[in-house]
């Protein structure tokens, strides 16, 4: 479970760019929470604070009861992060890339190898697992990055625009995986600027605009709230401008 309270993060010399400005929400276990917003709405900054990469200016966030600032290493053991940056080591094989993260997470050898096999099979990358990742396709890279993020079987999973650059087949495979993870009781937080993605997957949606929460609720609730008939129109209306279309 993720509990976010009044998170604030500003950038720039005089802290004049308010990337995240008083955001508060709760993402429960056994659910996929969607973070929807146009580019520059503060999604990546918010996820970076939750994954302990950035320190909030004020406010707090707790993941499974651990504070993301004061207990960052406890948090890091409990989260799996598929960040916007998902670079692999091109000279290591897929399996070695995954093993590196597993070893850093403190998995013992036998358990780690078993877990890697499990993930390799679940993600359908057995045929490329022992190849160096240099020259992998976008979809193959994404799968390795996901396996790497999930190697320690984290309870909380943060995904930043996971479908970026993926084809339809890979996107579908990813959706299935995320649903499976939800079914096993995980807490998933998923950011996207694509409404179809969010409607297809998420149990509840948090709409971000200019670093603030514009609306929260299920897809149906958001549509009802805005008085529009489809989510895309609801999204644009809730943001109060046409900028959702530019996303």
């Amino acid at each position: 479970m993720i509990v976010v309270e009044n998170l604030v993060k500003a950038f720039g010399r005089h802290r004049e760019v308010h990337a995240v400005d008083g955001v508060a929400f709760t993402a429960p276990d056994r659910a996929i929470t969607g973070l929807l917003g146009p580019n520059g709405a503060g999604k990546t900054t918010l996820l970076r604070m939750l994954s302990t990469l950035m320190i909030p200016d004020s406010g707090s966030a707790r993941i499974e009861g651990h504070d993301v600032v004061n207990e960052r290493f406890a948090v890091r053991r409990r989260i799996g992060v598929l960040s916007d940056a998902r670079g692999l080591y091109p000279r290591l094989t897929a399996r070695e890339n995954i093993r590196y993260y597993g070893a850093l997470q403190g998995l013992a050898a036998a358990a780690l190898e078993a877990r890697i096999d499990e993930l390799v099979n679940a993600l359908g990358i057995a045929d490329i697992a022992d190849r160096r990742t240099q020259g992998f396709s976008q979809g193959e890279r994404m799968k390795v990055a996901i396996a790497r993020a999930l190697v320690h079987d984290p309870q909380t999973i943060l995904l930043d625009e996971p479908t970026n650059g993926l084809d339809i087949m890979s996107t579908r495979a990813l959706r299935t995986l995320l649903r499976d993870l939800r079914a096993s009781g995980k807490c998933l937080l998923f950011s996207s600027h694509v409404m179809q993605e969010v409607t297809a997957l998420c149990d509840s949606i948090v709409i971000l605009g200019h670093g603030r929460i514009v609306a929260t609720g299920t897809a149906a609730e958001l549509v009802a709230q805005s008085g529009e008939s489809v989510l895309e129109d609801a999204f644009v209306r809730l943001l109060g401008s046409g900028e959702g279309l530019a996303a």
């Binding site: 970076r48 994954s51 302990t52 990469l53 950035m54 320190i55 290493f73 890091r76 053991r77 989260i79 992060v81 598929l82 960040s83 916007d84 940056a85 998902r86 670079g87 692999l88 080591y89 091109p90 000279r91 290591l92 070695e96 093993r99 590196y100 993260y101 597993g102 070893a103 850093l104 997470q105 403190g106 998995l107 013992a108 050898a109 780690l112 990055a145 790497r148 993020a149």
Partner: protein, 397 residues
């Protein structure tokens, strides 16, 4: 095969192990390291040794082009007695000297016989280009022979007048050359010391940049920082891996020199075997501080670069300054001031020179030369750790 990593040392070991695999699989890095380390040094040394050998051969079979030697038959006879073969110089010998075809040409003045008959000094002219290294030995040889002829002629005249030649030579100069056999091949020595330093400074460069700026450029740093690895553990692990590569490069370079001098068919240049296993060992002992310090500095510079290219251009300034130090030191020539031992690179260079002169390394100075690098290594590593914990490190390309 991977131990559980619930402790900081275990995590450091995981990082170091991964980086070592990564580095040694990088063909570009390995090629650059191996070529500069093993091949370039010994090949350069062979060239230098051959050059020295050619110079000494030249002196032995000196052919001296002459103009108007028939005007000075006594000089001609003297030079021929000294095993010089005299040939008539070509018309345009000055051009020949400029182009490097001729080393030195002797010209006897047209009025030589006349001047001598009148009791005036006879004039001979030497034409040469002293800026050409290869000609220097021949120039010195001819000058020395002319001085000797001058002396002999003068003695003869004094004896004819019934004066003991010693009257005109009140000073008797006896010199003892204290150079050990080792210190005579100064250029070769400098080359080995320089390359040893070079390997210690450059050996880890490509790998250090790849693992820092390269990691940022490939966007693999951000996900790595969401794992339980601490920033200082990450810095230490990477430093260990790069240091290992650096040590390998230094060992290979020195072994290359050792093998070249030991087994290559070297021309006989009067330099006895000067780089044995004892010297190799002393070199390693003297270079340890640099082997450990340079990777830390390189990692720091690499971390500041968002891309490999950016880091590389930041580095070139630093490396230029470092490589200048021993060259400046060589040109100073005087005895090194005592404080120099404290300065990284310079301190190591003077220790290496002593090792090459066949001296044992003085313990106190060795300890001195370790202290500043050790301190700087810790400072640089903590700076790398601080950079890894900064938010700005996430900014990619």
């Amino acid at each position: 095969m991977i131990a559980p990593t619930e402790s900081a040392p275990a995590r450091v070991a995981v990082v170091a192990k991964k980086e070592i695999v990564d580095i040694f699989r990088d063909r570009r890095t390995m090629l650059v390291t191996l070529v500069t380390a093993i091949v370039a040094g010994p090949v350069l040394m062979l060239l230098v040794l051959n050059l020295i050998a050619r110079q000494s051969d030249k002196v032995r079979e000196l052919v001296l082009p002459v103009v108007g030697i028939e005007r000075a038959p006594a000089l001609k006879a003297f030079l021929e007695r000294q095993q010089l073969s005299l040939t008539p110089a070509p018309e345009n010998f000055e051009a020949g000297i400029r182009s490097g075809e001729l080393d030195v040409v002797l010209e006897v003045d047209a009025a030589f016989a006349e001047d001598v008959a009148q009791g005036k000094p006879g004039t001979v002219r030497l034409a040469y280009d002293r800026s050409r290294d290869r000609a220097r030995a021949a120039i010195a040889e001819v000058e020395a022979l002319l001085r000797a002829f001058n002396r002999e002629w003068g003695r003869g005249r004094l004896i004819l007048r019934g004066i003991a030649p010693e009257v005109a030579n009140p000073l008797n100069v006896e010199s003892r050359d204290l150079a050990t056999p080792q210190s005579s091949g100064a250029l070769v020595l400098f080359l080995i010391a320089f390359y040893g330093l070079f390997a210690a400074v450059m050996g880890g460069m490509a790998a250090a940049l790849d693992t820092t700026a390269g990691e940022r450029e490939r966007m693999s740093l951000e996900p790595l920082l969401t794992t339980p690895i601490g920033p200082f553990e990450l810095a230490t692990g990477k430093w260990l891996a790069v240091s290992l590569l650096n040590a390998t490069a230094v060992l290979l370079t020195l072994t290359g020199f050792y093998l070249t001098l030991r087994f290559a068919p070297l021309p006989a240049v009067g330099i006895p075997f000067l780089f044995g296993l004892a010297e190799l060992g002393r070199f390693v002992v003297a270079l340890v501080p640099l082997i450990l310090l340079m990777p830390a500095i390189l990692l720091y510079v690499g971390c500041r670069g968002r891309t490999f290219k950016e880091a590389q251009s930041n580095l070139s300034v630093l490396l230029f300054a470092i490589s200048l130090l021993p060259i400046v030191q060589m040109f100073l020539q005087r005895k090194d001031p005592a404080w120099l031992t404290w300065i990284p690179v310079s301190g190591q260079y003077s220790l290496l020179s002593r090792a090459l002169r066949g001296e044992a390394l003085p313990w106190f100075e060795l300890l001195q030369s370790y202290m500043v690098p050790a301190l700087l290594t810790v400072v640089a590593l903590s700076a790398v750790g601080r950079l890894f914990s900064r938010e700005s490190v996430l900014a990619g390309k």
